[in-house]
Assembly symmetry: C2
Homo-oligomer: 128 residues x 2
């Protein structure tokens, strides 16, 4: 039965314990307790990973929570399920927009790098 301490997780993901407690405060994590001390399961660790991935994509904590909550359709009633499908679709669109943005930006970085190489060689051969 694998368990983690808060500082173990903080070290692994290079964040502070304050950050982890803050995520709990915002309802993104709810670790077990041994006495007063927080004890994290592998599932808690996965949730943390998902939060951090969301952060890398520029998601707010609320958005990350929404996505994590999409994982189980436990909000069983039909309307909720249909709403869930809608927000899944919306997220997908947003991610596809991001993909496009990344491709454009990568393309422009390539060109910028090329120009910079040219400028470098010019400067070097000119030995100014």
């Amino acid at each position: 039965m694998v368990r983690y301490s808060i500082s173990e997780l903080a070290r692994e993901f290079d964040i502070t314990t304050r950050t982890i407690r803050f995520y709990e405060d915002r309802g993104l994590l709810s670790p077990a307790r041994r006495g007063q001390t927080r004890v994290y399961s592998p599932e808690d660790r996965v949730r943390l990973k998902l939060i951090l991935r969301g952060k890398r994509l520029g998601l707010s904590l609320d958005e990350s929570r929404e996505i994590i909550d999409m994982y189980d359709p436990a909000g069983s009633n039909v309307e909720q399920l249909q709403a869930l499908l809608k927000s899944i679709e919306a997220k997908r669109q947003q991610l596809q927009q991001q993909q496009q943005d990344i491709l454009s930006m990568l393309d422009e970085l390539d060109k910028a790098a090329a120009r910079t190489h040219v400028a470098l060689e010019t400067n070097l051969s000119a030995k100014d």
Copy 2:
């Protein structure tokens, strides 16, 4: 000679004029003036577009400015050019990480959608 007013740009990109002025304040835009009034060129408009694309990718305004500044290697000296190449490479790596993150997330959204469809059909056939 195409020019834009601040509210034209605000309408086009669905942001407020306050936002556009804020970007200027942070050094990301520097439109011309006609009297006291701001007048935006097509180049200004492109810069604004790039800022907003950065936003969609979760970049801070400072990061967006850095990327926009990569477009011309006017910081001509050799050390600066080498530093520029380094940061271009760093950005590229970050964008590739984001690509990976997006692919994973899209994959998980697919699965979530599938589970939701199943739950929906179950609920519908059960007519609860």
